[in-house]
């Protein structure tokens, strides 16, 4: 006799918890009922991200690297589940390697991106990278896991908090990643994942006054309009690439220059 499997209910990931959409709506994707997030869910997610941001930003670089490396371990351990939701084991392996690659940047960013500046005057002048704040991420539809990880990891390693709109057509890998995040040491609220209609959610995220930057990797045809509304609070607009590089991280960083006096 075949056993009847216990099926998972796919929910949103906000502030470290797994709520249903406040709207009570769901939609069907990949044969499953998935939460259909509302505008209110976007605002809740931004609030959760803003709340979690200061602590994550001030976590030591070493610890942030450790936590992201731990996330890679969690994803690797769930390879079988992820493989079913993604395009296969190869994609999972690439996603794990990508997280590891970015994890290693945490304590090197300031050394490679920062500078000390030989100003004319009795000042020690230095420039350091800092996170930009809360970042909206529109994950690409494909590949479902690697696409999301590729855009999310560079945001996190720099110390930002994220609100992600998952792939609309293949959202299950994103929810699976939320479960890995929830059981890793990434503090609740640092990553928030919404599933639903991109057309409905993206404009709310792009025009939100408490979001500092937006990654339009998965914006498709929406990009011009999203860029336009993003200007309302001078958001940093990132057209995220599909590869891994230091510059994918620096796109979500600010540069602060300090003039520190020198004297007796």
């Amino acid at each position: 006799m075949t056993r009847l499997p216990v099926k998972k209910t796919y929910k949103l990931f906000i502030g470290g918890a797994f709520p249903r959409s406040e709207s009570g709506r769901t939609y069907e994707a990949e044969g499953q009922n998935v939460a259909l997030a509302s505008r209110k869910d976007v605002r809740d997610a931004v609030q959760a991200a803003r709340g979690a941001y200061p602590k994550w930003a001030s976590t030591t670089a070493y610890n942030r690297g450790q936590i992201l490396y731990r996330l890679a371990e969690m994803v690797e351990a769930r390879t079988a589940e992820f493989a079913e939701l993604a395009t296969g084991k190869k994609e999972v392996a690439q996603a794990v390697d990508r997280i590891v690659w970015y994890a290693g940047w945490a304590d090197k960013l300031a050394q490679v991106i920062g500078s000390s500046n030989p100003v004319a005057g009795p000042y020690f002048n230095f420039t350091i990278p800092e996170p930009t704040g809360v970042v909206g991420v529109l994950a690409p539809d494909e590949p479902p896991l690697l696409g999301l990880v590729t855009r999310l990891a560079p945001v996190l390693v720099g110390g930002n908090a994220a609100v992600v709109v998952a792939s609309e057509t293949r959202p299950l890998a994103a929810i699976e990643l939320a479960e890995a995040l929830a059981t890793s040491d990434v503090p609740g609220g640092v990553v928030n994942i919404l599933t639903g209609r991109r057309e409905e959610l993206a404009p709310v995220l792009a025009s939100h006054m408490d979001v500092n930057a937006i990654d339009l990797a998965g914006a498709d045809g929406l990009a011009p309009e999203l860029e336009r509304v993003a200007a309302e609070n001078v958001k940093r607009i990132v057209h995220g690439g599909s590869g891994q590089s230091l510059w994918e991280i620096s796109a979500f960083l600010e540069l602060k220059t300090v003039w520190h006096p020198i004297g007796q």
Binding site: V119, T127, E227, R228, N233, V258, P261
Partner: protein, 509 residues
Amino acid sequence: MGGRARVNQEGHALSGLEQKPSATPAPAEWAYAPAPESRDIVRLEDRYGLFIGGKWVEPSQTYTTISPATEEPLADVAQATPEEVAKAVAAARNAFENGWSSSAPSERSKYLFRIARILQERSREFAVLESLNGGKPIKESRDVDLPLAAAHFFYYAGWADKLEYAFPNRRPRPVGVAGQIIPWNFPLLMLAWKIAPALAAGNTVVLKPAETTPLTALLFCDVLRQAELPPGVVNIVTGDGSTGAALVTAEVDKVAFTGSTEVGKAIQRELAGTGKKLTLELGGKAANIVFDDAALDQSVEGIVNGIYFNQGHVCCAGSRLLVQESIYEPLVGKLKRRLETLRVGDPLDKNTDVGAINSRMQLEKIQELVEAGKQEGAEIYQPPCRLPEKGYWFAPTVFTNVAQSYRIAQEEIFGPVLSVLTFRTPEEAVEKANNTPYGLSAGVWTEKGSRILWMAERLRAGVVWANTFNRFDPTSPFGGYKESGFGREGGLHGLEPYLTFDGAESWGG
């Protein structure tokens, strides 16, 4: 920075006088003999055209540019139309594709060195013209604007043939034609901040000076002639906001704008979906934070320099003074007495500390916000000073009893108007300092080095000055957080907006 040092020296001498026991108040009138800088060094044309493709092109429309200190007409300059802007962009494109972008980087470097040198040699002429057209004290244009402008060209000259060291493994290439729009507060210096990195990176440029201060940019065309810069590499089109709008929508590959946050947002909206690169250096409402252990007299000088330098027409001006409660009385007392010694008047007089407001429009904006401050309940202080009858003037102003919600504590005034607030703990200072949509700069005054760094870590601003303010250097990146814009000018980081790099790999690469 020799320039700044001189200003400070002068300030320091004044602070010595000001340190006398308060029983001897500063005299209401200082007996200075006028010490005007001669205007003879500047030879103005009656009429200026557009500088396109290395030639002066007769414009279809003109307007008259004036001296804000006297309202005297100085010259007629071009009001460039969209068609004329398009011609300038075409000239820049032609220069980019036929020579400049493929020229030897070491040659580009030498052109920039030439420009820097010529600016140094002609600096008095430029300083006088800058003060004449913009209203800023000659002391500042002579000791700050000009030395810094030349230094900026000098700094980027050296980068032109070293880009691969700045961006290893990225194969940096020029973007193409840069459309650059600059403000009226530091006309020549902002021109230098825009043109120097753009040329060093191998781009060509169409630059639009501010409507009210076109003359030093037009004189700069003569420097380009002397430097024998190939035609079309730098094009200058003057005009009002409509000329700027035409430049933004023209066939440029990159837009760099310095100006108000309002216009910056409009530009960002306009460029949505175009793929043009954009950098914005916008407004600010900087907190200048004084702790109770700070050297008071030095802080007073810093506060004065922070908000009255260049009539407060500074995007990074320290317009919100946050004073620790325990030193509020003595600090504000000293500040008010120091204000009495500021000399407001003829920008060309070497004794002048505060010059003319740049335009009637700006004066009206300042007046409106100051009126709002009074209405909302803040207490106004202005030292007794006689303002010239002609021209645009505003006395140095301090508002006390200011609540964070007041417009004068929230909005950028861009004038010589300081709002004073208080705090008790460092945490409160950080909270208040960051309570603004802007994030360009901040100042911290304390004798405690560890506190400087603690504060610097928490202030959401692109530049943090400790025990100093409004200090600039070509090696030091400058730019904002939040609604103060994005991108950096100055330093290695200032090259990046003018370069493109190899594309990203594909998924799984």
